[in-house]
Structure formats: structure tokens, C-alpha cells
């Protein structure tokens, strides 16, 4: 692959304002952008460890989020508890297959996809894999874009709790799983933010040999 990276060229760019600067070798965490004063990183520091920590916490919390009920409904005649998945099934059986699909994608597909993709990215980066970088980069962009839609169920529960408190007929109360689920969404969003996608392209095969750097820079300038 014929390319040169900023770190090879001794350049560093500001992710906030896009300014390109010469890397003067400042200690990581001390280099500020001359234009906007944002902190600049060659690579996000401790990205792998931080992303792993957030992701593993999210995976652990994902278990109670799915096993425990997200809400309890009690009516005059019966009371029932819903988990995330049973809530989707109730909507499906009630004939609102379209809404059921939306909730299923937001509450099940997106979180699972995020956890799997981040795990694949972390493992492949750790092994300095050269495997389909384009697809891995695309996957990362997708989970970064759609991640926040998982918060849907959290807002639905908050709204139902507020709206359904008819003294004699029906009440809805929140279950513990919604807290765990909300935490999973926040943690996976933080995990995606702490992952540095530039690491996907840092595998040794895609790097330019040091002796060729000078000639490549001049080609670009």
C-alpha cells in the first residue's frame, strides 16, 4: 500500500480543528494544538487497555440487563414482568411488528453488534493483523454512528413509568435491568470513543520502510 502516515512523516494533526503541525516530540498528553488548544495525540494513550476495560464491564452488565426484568406491569387482574426480549415479543404478538422491529434492532442487534465488533477490532489490532482493514474500519464507523440509538428502551421505560399510574387500573414500575442496560449503552459508547481507529492501519505490512519516507513525503508535498 503506497501511503505515508502522519507519525512516519513527523506530523501530527488536531482531531478537533484539523490543523496539521510538525510533531516536535512533546511528551504524550502535553502537546496542545496551536490553533484551538485541544490536546493532540499521535495515538490515543492506553487505547487498547482502556477499551478492553470498558468493554468487559459492559459485557458483564449485559447479562443482568437481559436476564432481569426491565419493568413490571400490574393491572386489576394480573401483574407481569418484561425483560428486553419479552418486551419485543409482546409488541410483535400485539400486531405492531414494525415497532417491534425498531425496538429489537435498537435494544438487541445494536448492543450485540457493538460488543462483537469492538472485541474483533481489539483482538485484530493486538495481533497486528493485516486482515481486511477497510471492512474493519467501516465496521468501526458503523458502530460509532448507530451506538446511541440503543438508549431507546431506557427512555421508553422512563416515559411509561411516568404515564402509567392509574390508581385502580394499572401501574408500571421500573425493573433493575433497565439500569444495567443504560450502563451498558454508556460503557460501549465510551469504549468506542477510547478506541483509536488509526491502530487498524498500523500493522507492520502497511507501513512504509523508514528509508523510503523522505521520498514519499516529497511526492505528497
Amino acid at each position: 500500500m503506497n501511503r505515508i502516515t502522519a507519525s512516519q512523516a513527523g506530523l501530527i494533526d488536531c482531531h478537533h480543528c484539523g490543523e496539521v503541525c510538525r510533531d516536535v516530540g512533546a511528551t504524550e498528553g502535553e502537546a496542545h494544538c496551536p490553533r484551538c488548544d485541544a490536546l493532540m495525540h499521535r495515538r490515543k494513550p492506553g487505547s487498547l487497555a482502556r477499551t478492553w476495560a470498558l468493554l468487559i464491564t459492559a459485557v458483564i452488565l449485559y447479562i443482568p440487563a437481559n436476564v432481569l426484568p426491565i419493568m413490571h406491569t400490574s393491572t386489576l387482574f394480573e401483574s407481569s414482568s418484561d425483560t428486553i426480549v419479552s418486551g419485543v415479543l409482546v409488541l410483535w404478538k400485539g400486531g405492531s411488528w414494525d415497532i417491534a422491529l425498531i425496538v429489537f434492532v435498537a435494544s438487541v442487534v445494536v448492543p450485540v453488534l457493538k460488543i462483537l465488533v469492538l472485541a474483533i477490532l481489539l483482538i485484530s489490532v493486538r495481533r497486528a493483523s493485516n486482515w481486511r482493514p477497510h471492512d474493519r474500519a467501516r465496521l468501526f464507523q458503523i458502530i460509532e454512528k448507530v451506538g446511541h440509538w440503543s438508549m431507546l428502551d431506557v427512555f421508553v421505560v422512563a416515559l411509561l413509568v411516568a404515564l402509567v399510574h392509574f390508581k385502580t387500573y394499572a401501574t408500571v414500575e421500573a425493573g433493575p435491568a433497565i439500569v444495567a442496560f443504560g450502563a451498558v449503552v454508556v460503557l460501549t459508547m465510551l469504549a468506542a470513543k477510547s478506541f483509536d481507529p488509526r491502530m487498524i492501519w498500523d500493522s507492520p505490512e502497511s507501513a512504509v520502510a523508514p528509508e523510503n519516507i523522505e521520498s514519499q513525503v516529497s511526492q505528497h508535498e
Binding site: H16, C36, G94, P133, L160, V161, A162, L163, H220
Partner: protein
């Protein structure tokens, strides 16, 4: 003079900036992500959107979102009604999330936009401009008005089977706010910095 180089945020590849046709984006040749664009970012329009967003934000929060009726008993809620009900129901974490993601962060986003676009429109330097820009960038992904709006629609469907549901003013407020926040969120920070740089010279 702006740097002749552009570096891809996603893969760190160095590119030389080239002239591109109006209204198009330049993409990274390695990973395909957007690098820079040649679009006319209209500060007038952004200022108008920010002012509208502030007004709509107030409307969306001041009026009930939906009214539900069951056996002669009526309930309604605003955003803050839902936040307080969650808090009283023992899920203060959910209440906190809703308050931050649907109220405080969107409010910050609107106020920061006003603080940035108003002086930019009239070519005035304000203290803390850079800080406001960085804060705007940091807050943006955590503003979830659009997700909340979808949540309202899902709740409507869930309730419509067993109760009489009437959409109220707040619902329309959040519908319009979703649109305005999406427009505000689509602004490219790199582009804003370039405009800011050009105006000062």
C-alpha cells in the same frame, strides 16, 4: 495560509489538499473517510437554526408530550415529569441519564452554538471561543433528542392498545427539535475553524 496537507483522522494517512468541485467532499484514498469538503457552511443559516432550536427547546419542555386516559382517569407527562417519575420509582440512574442526554446536553449544545455563531456572524472575537468549540465537539455525541423522540413514538404505540392516547404540544416540539438538532449536529468542526481563521484575517 491554510496548511497544504490534510491528515485523515481515521487512518493517519497524509494527503495533499487539492481543489475539489463545489458541494463535494474529498475522501481519504486509503480508508475512504471524509477528509475535507468544499461546501459553503452558511453561518447565517446556522445562527437562525440555533435561535429556532432554543425556542423549540423551551416549547418542547414546557408542554406535556402525551395525555393518556383510562377509565376516566387522565395522566400526562413532560420530559421532566418522566425524569422525576423515574427518580421516584427508584431508578435514579435512568432519571440522571434522561436529564443529561435529553435536557442538559442538548441545552448546552444550543447555547454553545449561539455563543459561537452569533459573534462569528458579526465578526466579533469573544473570550473562550476555542473552549466553547471544544466543548461543543465533546457534548455533541451525547445529545439524544432524536432517540428520545423515537422513544415517545414507541411508548405511544405500546399504550394505544389499552388506553386512549392523545399526542400533545410537547410531542410536536420534540419532533421539530429532532430536526433542528440534526442540522446543528451535521456541522463540520474543521470547516468552522477554517471559516473562523479566514474571517480574522
Amino acid at each position: 495560509m491554510r496548511s497544504q496537507l490534510a491528515i485523515c483522522d481515521h487512518c493517519d494517512t497524509v494527503h495533499q489538499r487539492v481543489e475539489i468541485p463545489r458541494g463535494t467532499n474529498a475522501h481519504c484514498q486509503v480508508c475512504g473517510c471524509a477528509l475535507y469538503s468544499n461546501r459553503t457552511t452558511n453561518i447565517d443559516a446556522l445562527l437562525a437554526i440555533s435561535v429556532s432550536a432554543l425556542i423549540v427547546f423551551i416549547i418542547a419542555n414546557a408542554f406535556p408530550i402525551v395525555i393518556v386516559e383510562l377509565g376516566g382517569e387522565q395522566n400526562q407527562t413532560t420530559l421532566w415529569g418522566a425524569i422525576l417519575a423515574s427518580y421516584e420509582s427508584g431508578i435514579s440512574f435512568v432519571a440522571g441519564l434522561a436529564a443529561l442526554l435529553v435536557f442538559f446536553f442538548p441545552m448546552m449544545l444550543i447555547l454553545l452554538s449561539l455563543y459561537i455563531f452569533l459573534p462569528m456572524r458579526f465578526g466579533i472575537d469573544v473570550p473562550g471561543f476555542a473552549k466553547a468549540m471544544r466543548l461543543l465537539d465533546a457534548v455533541r455525541p451525547w445529545s439524544m433528542v432524536e432517540v428520545f423522540f423515537l422513544g415517545v413514538l414507541v411508548s405511544l404505540v405500546k399504550l394505544s392498545g389499552d388506553t386512549d392516547v392523545t399526542p400533545a404540544m410537547g410531542l410536536w416540539g420534540f419532533a421539530v427539535l429532532t430536526l433542528l438538532m440534526t442540522l446543528l449536529n451535521s456541522v463540520d468542526m474543521h470547516e468552522l475553524w477554517d471559516i473562523h481563521g479566514r474571517k480574522r484575517r
